[in-house]
Amino acid sequence: MARLSVNIGSLQLKNPVMTASGTFGYGPEFADFMDLSTLGGIIVKGTTLHAREGNDYPRMAETPSGMLNAVGLQNKGVNYFAEKIYPGIKDCGTEVIVNVSGATVSDYVGVAERLLDLDRIHAIEVNISCPNVKQGGMAFGTTAKGAASVTAALRKAWDRTLIVKLSPNVTDITEIARAVEDEGADSVSLINTLMGMAVDVEHRRPCLSTVTGGLSGPAVRPVAVRMVWQVAKAVKIPVIGLGGITCGRDALEFLMAGATAVEVGTANFLDPAVSAKIVDEINDYCSRNKIADIREIIGII
């Protein structure tokens, strides 16, 4: 049994496997299928200051080895989370990390301030890369200046672990990563979805109500691994890798490319127990290869 625990800032994970925001609900949705406490962490769905209805249906399209989504941050707001959801998951046996979204810097700060009331929330993941909202979202994530402004404000408001989730829809993601590192982020997670589009040729219209949406799934994994490798070489803070991870082998690609931890996303839709299996498969790989501590292979490439 290898040592799998890793640290992200002051956040300690029992293993490097977390579930990605928007793909695992709040956790209980999957409790019938697996033991949530086997995970390194659960990143709950994007939470905003006020409730959001999200975009119109259709919000999803299947693509080769992937899918497009345009949910648009549907959620009931941070107060609902704090009062109605947090009490039911705070004792689930793993770290619960909240994905924070907003249209303005003060929105982000407002969510973080409310989350300070919740002792068991040791970290937030800041979504500056949502391609499916008109205001904010990706707008902050595609320029170093925008990313820095959100990070700086949250760094003042949030003294626990601050993770910033980066957009892959940029020319040089290392520039954005360095900007958020300079403003005091404890970690960056990448990649959010690639902006994509699909057409229903029989009806001659876009498949999504929003025309474009976010591409996720194994299709994007090579882009994600490349960006993680680039960013891990460009910053000193730990990098969290995600994008198309479906098995232990996929997770190890990210770890070897420089990720300290990973997030499992779309694969949760294909196999609701996959995240727990990935922890086991990483363990098996370590035993098979005489690896005593997962950190031996992090960033080996």
Partner: protein, 264 residues
């Protein structure tokens, strides 16, 4: 936060294909058996089926459960060829394993009155949950009637099974069986009905909903929005309701038409 109850409400498991019976060119009936008992399944719930044989099918396919015997771990799925995924599913051979998540979603409610006149309306492959519901209602002492519609006689599926449960009224677009025309034009809707349960193409369900409001019958419909996860995590299959956007996979697939915004 493990669900410690020895029988969780939902499971993901490999099931063995016991039979795969073609029903004409377009449809097939898949009989599946789990290694052990399945959780309680109620009419209107669905399964998320993994399609291993199709290179181009990435997501699971939600398929309404047609009949279920949870104790013996058996279910039947009525499948319509709608693309590479369903084609691959209908190509499965007896003995082959298929991976399913089930049972998912919320099923149909029960009539308020024991002697209620319940009319189960199914269109095309939408008859699947109506068979499950008919069997349950009859077992519980209700006297369900069926109104089944299809393009042609060839598209009227599992008629013998329905006739074994209760009176069956038929309509076809071309008149090759039953009354020519749409279900909502059928004479049965002129006579009293307390509860309508409906599954079929959306235009048909919208028309049935209108008819139900007109005649003052309670009406539940089963929606087929596109889904990814099937458990309320991805928020892709939402339907606009009186409570805003809700997940069809968890709040539905069955909705009372009063919850929906089809009128607007």
């Amino acid at each position: 936060m493990k669900n410690n109850s020895s029988n969780p409400a939902k499971v993901v498991c490999d099931m063995t294909v016991e039979a795969n019976t073609p029903l004409g060119q377009l449809y097939g009936l898949l009989a599946l058996r789990a290694d052990g008992p399945l959780p309680a399944i109620s009419a209107g719930q669905f399964a998320q089926v993994r399609i291993d044989r199709s290179k181009t099918t990435f997501l699971r396919r939600p398929i309404s459960i047609c009949t279920a015997d949870a104790a013996s771990g058996r279910i039947e799925l009525l499948v319509r060829r709608a693309g590479a995924g369903t084609d691959a599913l209908l190509a499965c051979e007896p003995g082959e394993k298929v991976n399913l998540m089930l049972p998912l979603g919320r099923g149909f409610s029960r009539p308020a009155k024991r002697d209620a006149k319940a009319l189960l309306i199914g269109g095309g492959v939408g008859v699947a949950p109506m068979l499950a519901l008919g069997l349950e209602l009859k077992a519980e002492g209700y006297a369900p009637e069926f109104l089944l519609g299809a393009r042609t006689a060839a598209d009227l599926l599992l008629l013998d099974r329905f006739e074994a449960i209760g009176p069956v009224h038929l309509t076809t677009d071309d008149g090759s069986a039953g009354t020519r025309g749409v279900v909502t034009a059928h004479a049965r809707l002129q006579r009293p009905v307390d509860n309508i349960y409906c599954c079929g193409p959306k235009p048909m369900m919208v028309a049935v909903a209108k008819a139900a409001s007109r005649i003052g019958a309670s009406c539940e419909v089963s929606l087929e929005n596109m889904m990814a996860c099937g458990v309320g995590a991805c928020l892709c299959c939402v339907e606009k309701t009186t409570k805003g956007n809700v997940c069809v996979c968890t709040e539905g697939p069955v909705f009372n038409i009063n919850q929906l915004t089809w009128q607007d």
